[in-house]
Every structure is written in structure tokens, then in C-alpha cells.
Amino acid sequence: MNKLLKLSAVSLLTIGAISAQASMFHSDTLKDVQAKDSLTCGVSTGTPGFSSPDASGNWSGIDVDVCRAVAAATLGDAKKVKFVPLTAKERFVALSSGEIDMLSRNTTWTHTRDTSLGLTFAGVNYYDGQGFMVQKSLGVNSVKDLNGASFCIQAGTTTELNLADYFRSNNMEFKAVTYDTSAQTKGGFEAGRCDALTSDVSQLAGLRSTLKDPSSAVVLGDVISKEPLGPVVRKDDNNWLNIVRWSLNAMIEAEELGVTSATIDNASTSPGIQRLQGKSGTLNESLGLGKDWSRNIIAQVGNYGEVFERNIGMSTPIQLPRGVNQLWIKGGILYAPAFR
């Protein structure tokens, strides 16, 4: 009896303590990351060029490099990242529950996601759009010719909504066959379950190259939506938002200044480069980081152009052109706010 009483008393107290602690919860992600000396980053389950693991489990991709840049800025070592692969359905819950410190998983920045999930988008690391791949034998040249066609599509993505919007606004009919994963979507397309496959343009080229017979399919020129992809953080930690946002901006700024991972440590008289090197200015202080935070990003990860070419550029199997993801001074829309 005494034992039981004690047990219930202890369990009651424990519950009380846990709940009291949880209600006083105040997040300081930077402190947590530095305390565990590792950044936990949510990525995709495997999207070539964006985030995918190789045979020995090393992750690479432009989304992965955003995680690495943040690790370089906060911990001084781009390798101190723990990657958590997440499906489209899991990603936001994993972030808001605190399972991951940041999400970098080709996630489209939308109004709803930015305002009603308790999350904030920290920037855009790839401007994408929704495109179509069709069976060549259909002889179709434009989406407008696809009235009444069936589309293979991945469930739980903005793609589903854009497709419906586009066909509604053009008074066209369509059938959508929604699969759980990208691989199943491709399988359905290959087996002829649908006439066309729709996804982000950045993924179509990669998907087409993995078909049994790539020449049997063509990617149409039409792009029907805006898909700005970028990293996401929790809303309740403004400083962490700034760190992620400016880590990405540092890579874009470095490309604009013509600084690469090879030349970052070269002496320069340019004030802009000196600020990036951490030799002048106090940009680090308001972020709570060391003076060499941006230098570490460029030295260990590289500037935006390097990251792009290494992961999805023309020399890779993905073969994506820079397109709108070119710097604003070179005709693109990539633009980092003033770095001062």
C-alpha cells in the first residue's frame, strides 16, 4: 500500500514537472545546436541534385548544401550535420515538433505554409516551376493539347493543386492518378496508366533520364506555376531565421562578388569581400555568431554558383541550365539583400 501510494505520488509529481517545463518552453535553436555540436536538418527521401544519399550514405545536393552552410556558420564545420529524410507528408510536423532544426527539402514557399503552420520560409534557393512530361507517341506539343488526358502525380504536393487550377482556368478536363512516391509516379507513367507525368521542372529531366527508354518521352516547354523552393524554420525563433536566411544570402553575395571557395582567403581591398571574410564590420554580432561565419560558409561549401554547378549544373546528370536562377546582374532573379 505504501509502495503504491509513493508510486502514484511520484508519477503525479513527474507529470506535473514535465508539463510545467513544457509550458515554459522557450526556443533558442542556436544554443541547442551549439550545445549538441550538430545541426539536425530535414531533407527529402532522395531527390537527385537536391538531396540524395550516395551508396555510402553521404548526402549531397543543393538543399543539402544549405544545411551545410548553416552548420559551417554556426559550428564552424560543414560536416556537422545530421540529415533526417522526410516524406512530403511528414516534413512540416517534423519541423514544428522540434525533431529537426531546419527543413531544406525542395519545399514550395506558399502563403498558407508561411502563415498558418507556425513556420517561416527563410529564402529561396531554387526558383522552380511545374512542367509536364508526355509519351512521345502522343505527338503532343503543348499542355493545351492534353484536354481529357490522365496525369500521374505525386500526392501531397502543390503540383496537385496547380494542375487542377490550370485545367479549371482553361476549361479543360483531366484525370489525376496520385501516387505516394516519386518512383511510383514514374512507374505509373511508364506502364501507360497515364498520358502525362507532371512535377517540378527540376525533377522532370532527372526522371526522364531514369526511364527504361528515355527517348519514348518528351518534356514539354510549358511551365504552369511558380515554385520557389527554399529552407524553412520555426516561427518562434527570429534569430535562427536570420542565421538561415543570411547563410543562404552569403552564398549568393559571394557569387556576386566573384568570390569562390578557392579565393575566399585571398587578401582583398574590396570592403564587400572584407565583410564576407569577417575582416571588417560587425555583421556577426547581431546573429550571435563568430566573426568568420560567412568565411566558413564560402570556404567549406562554396558560393551559390559553385553549389549549383556541382549538384545540378550542365556537368551533372541532371543538366539544368541556370535560367532564372542566375544572378540579377546576369539576367536572372537571384538577388541577395544588401550585405552590410
Partner: protein
């Protein structure tokens, strides 16, 4: 006073009640704290909560839709209903076919014919021991590759078409003429049941067996068909237009693959339940039946199965529930049931995981409880009859 309290403390009954009350308080307190904590965190992080999202526009298309009005302009609530109906349709179809296959295989398992007996055993051992998800994917890929493309569809009388995307049937247009056909079907079924009862009564009283097959054909099949011809109800035929068939009623290939896989898989368990039920019937019953001159089929139908079902029904209820819950694996092949539509697409658009998952769980809970309620009533009926 103190002594009285002390004796209360050592009273077994009082102590038993006190501990149970304490346990309930601890559990309730824990649940309350967890809920309170969750709501606090949601509020602190500025996550939207509540069920207002159900009235928002859904914005996405759904492939399988049987009876309900739905378009991308419909609300999330309508998408939720479509999901529930699609889950129910696949569950009911699966339960129907699994029961038939299970009954046949269960009886075949005890057949005196060596070949039939062994084939039933092999069927059960193979399909019971492969994970259901793999079977769904297997049958789906078979179906995708075995059937022709829409342009080369297999056609029956130019009104029913089968291809790798699904089965296309003529759809009756829901007008007043069609309701006449439905009404005549109902009338036909009711009068057939009445005639069957009469013939059963006659059999009980006089022992004369009347064959009612002709009545069945006439009342249940011919009567509605005749009304259909006379009233001139309209059918909408599916037509190949461009990429796909349009019009008519279409059942997607995903629906077939899922229903087929669920039926084949669950039938193995039902067959085993039926076999154990049959084996539980005392051998003397069969001997008595054949001593009375009943044929083997009659002995099975009239003597063995009614008693076997008494043992078999409880495990079969479990299998019906499992089949219903397994239907949520549809996401793998893209059949748009509740989990795919609501906990998949809607969840991803809206992002309110707690509300959406709770609603989904409530639906499954309700369906399962209703199924077990119905079968428990049926079970009770069977038990009392056997006295």
C-alpha cells in the same frame, strides 16, 4: 473515530475502490495535461487550429468517385466524404468477395478429392504468408501490364470497355424512369422473399420441396429488365474521346487491384476460420445426415455449415475489420480512399495534422465498431438458433 478510519483503511473493498479511483484520476490528469500542453504549444507557435479548414476549397482532383458530387471547387469536407465513401466501397466489395472465396476454399480444404484439397492448402499457405502491401503492388503491376491501352480496349457489345486504366460501364441516368426500375427491383426482391418463405413453410409442414429458381429469375432479374425496356430509361454509354473514355461509369484499375488483393489475402484467413468451424462439428452429425439420406451437398448446406458458422463467425469478424483497416494501404497504388485524400492531400495543403488525423481515426473507429456490432448481432442469432 480514529479506529473507525483505520478499519476503513484496512477494509479490502474500500481499498479496492480507492485505488481504482486514484488510477482514473492519474490517467485523466495525464490526458488533460498532455492536451493542455499541446494546445499551449500550438498557440505559442501560431499554428492554425480548429475545424474551419473543412469549409475551405479543396482545390485538387480525385480519381475515384462513385456517387458524390465532387470537383476541385468543392470543399475539404466534401473531399472527406468522398474519401469515406471510397473506403466503404472498397471495404464492402472486399468483404463480399473475400467471404465467397473464403467459403469455397475453406470447404475445399476438407474435400475428399486430393487435388482440390492440396490446391486449397497451397493457395492458403502462399497468400497468407506474403505481406499484403506487396500483394497489392504485385496485382497492380500485373493489371497495368496485362490489359491493353485505352485505344485497344477490350470491348463487350460496344458498351462495356476494359483497359489498363479501368473498367467503363454504361451509367443509368438518374431520372424518373430509372427510379421505376429500382422500385420494380425492390418489389421483385420482396415478393421473392415472400414466396421463398411460403415454400419453406410448405416444406416444414409437408416435406415437399418446391423449386423457387424460376421465381427468382422472373422476379429479381426479368421484372426490372422488362420495366426498364417499357419505361425506356436512358443509359449513358462510355465513349473513347481523345485520350480517355468519357461518360458512363468508370471503375479505376487501382480499385480493382486493391479489392482483388484484399479479397485474395483476407480469404485465406476466412477459409481457415471456416475449416476450423467445420472440423468442430461432431462427426456424428454428418453420419446422421447421410443416414437420413441427405446428399453430401445437402448435408454440408443444411447440417454442417450452420453449425460450423457458429464457431467461425467471431474470427471472421476480426478478418472483416482487418480488411477494412488494410484498405488504407491504397495510397501505394493511388486508389483515392480516406487516407490518401484526407490524411494525404488535405493534410499537406492545410497542415493541421492533429485535427485531420483525429477525424481519420474516428472514421475508422466508427466503421469498425459498426461492422462488429452488426456481426455480433448476427452471431447471437446463430447461437440461439442452435439450441
Amino acid at each position: 473515530m480514529f479506529i473507525k478510519l483505520k478499519s476503513l483503511l484496512y477494509d479490502n473493498e474500500v481499498r479496492a475502490i480507492a485505488f481504482q479511483v486514484l488510477a482514473v484520476i492519474v490517467i485523466a490528469y495525464f490526458a488533460y495535461q498532455a492536451f493542455d500542453n499541446m494546445m499551449l504549444n500550438i498557440e505559442q507557435r501560431g499554428i492554425r487550429s480548429g475545424f474551419g479548414f473543412l469549409n475551405d476549397e479543396a482545390g485538387f482532383a480525385v480519381n475515384d468517385n462513385f456517387f458524390l458530387e465532387y470537383s476541385p471547387a468543392s470543399t475539404n469536407l466534401q473531399a472527406f466524404y468522398v474519401g469515406i465513401v471510397n473506403t466503404l466501397v472498397v471495404a464492402i466489395a472486399g468483404i463480399f468477395f473475400a467471404s465467397i472465396i473464403g467459403l469455397i476454399i475453406g470447404v475445399a480444404r476438407l474435400s475428399s478429392n486430393y487435388l482440390i484439397r492440396k490446391m486449397a492448402t497451397i493457395y492458403i499457405e502462399v497468400f497468407r504468408n506474403i505481406p499484403i502491401l506487396l500483394q497489392i503492388l504485385f496485382w497492380y503491376s500485373i493489371a497495368l501490364n496485362a490489359f491493353p491501352s485505352p485505344k485497344n480496349s477490350i470491348s463487350f457489345f460496344d458498351s462495356i470497355f476494359l483497359n489498363s486504366r479501368g473498367l467503363y460501364l454504361p451509367k443509368p441516368l438518374m431520372e424518373s424512369e430509372f427510379y421505376l426500375v429500382i422500385a420494380s427491383l425492390v418489389v421483385g426482391i420482396i415478393s421473392y422473399i415472400f414466396i421463398k418463405k411460403q415454400s419453406n413453410k410448405k416444406h416444414d409442414e409437408t416435406g415437399v420441396v418446391t423449386n423457387t429458381t424460376a421465381y427468382f429469375l422472373g422476379l429479381v432479374l426479368l421484372l426490372p429488365f422488362a420495366v426498364y425496356l417499357v419505361a425506356g430509361a436512358q443509359l449513358e454509354y462510355p465513349v473513347l474521346k481523345g485520350f480517355n473514355f468519357r461518360g458512363g461509369l468508370d471503375l479505376s484499375i487501382e480499385f480493382f487491384a486493391l479489392t482483388f488483393a484484399l479479397s485474395i489475402y483476407t480469404a485465406t484467413y476466412i477459409a481457415e476460420a471456416i475449416r476450423s468451424g467445420i472440423e468442430s462439428v461432431d462427426n456424428g452429425q454428418k453420419e446422421a445426415a447421410s443416414a437420413m439420406g441427405l446428399t453430401q451437398a445437402q448435408s454440408l448446406r443444411l447440417v454442417v455449415l450452420p453449425q460450423a458458422l457458429r464457431v467461425a463467425i467471431p474470427p471472421i469478424i476480426n478478418q472483416y475489420l482487418n480488411l477494412t483497416k488494410n484498405s488504407s494501404l491504397a495510397a501505394a497504388v493511388g486508389y483515392t480512399e480516406l487516407v490518401t485524400i484526407f490524411s494525404g492531400t488535405v493534410l499537406n495543403v492545410v497542415g493541421q495534422a492533429i485535427e485531420i488525423i483525429t477525424l481519420t481515426m474516428l472514421v475508422y473507429l466508427t466503421i469498425s465498431l459498426v461492422i462488429s456490432l452488426i456481426l455480433n448481432i448476427f452471431n447471437k442469432k446463430m447461437q440461439i438458433k442452435g439450441k
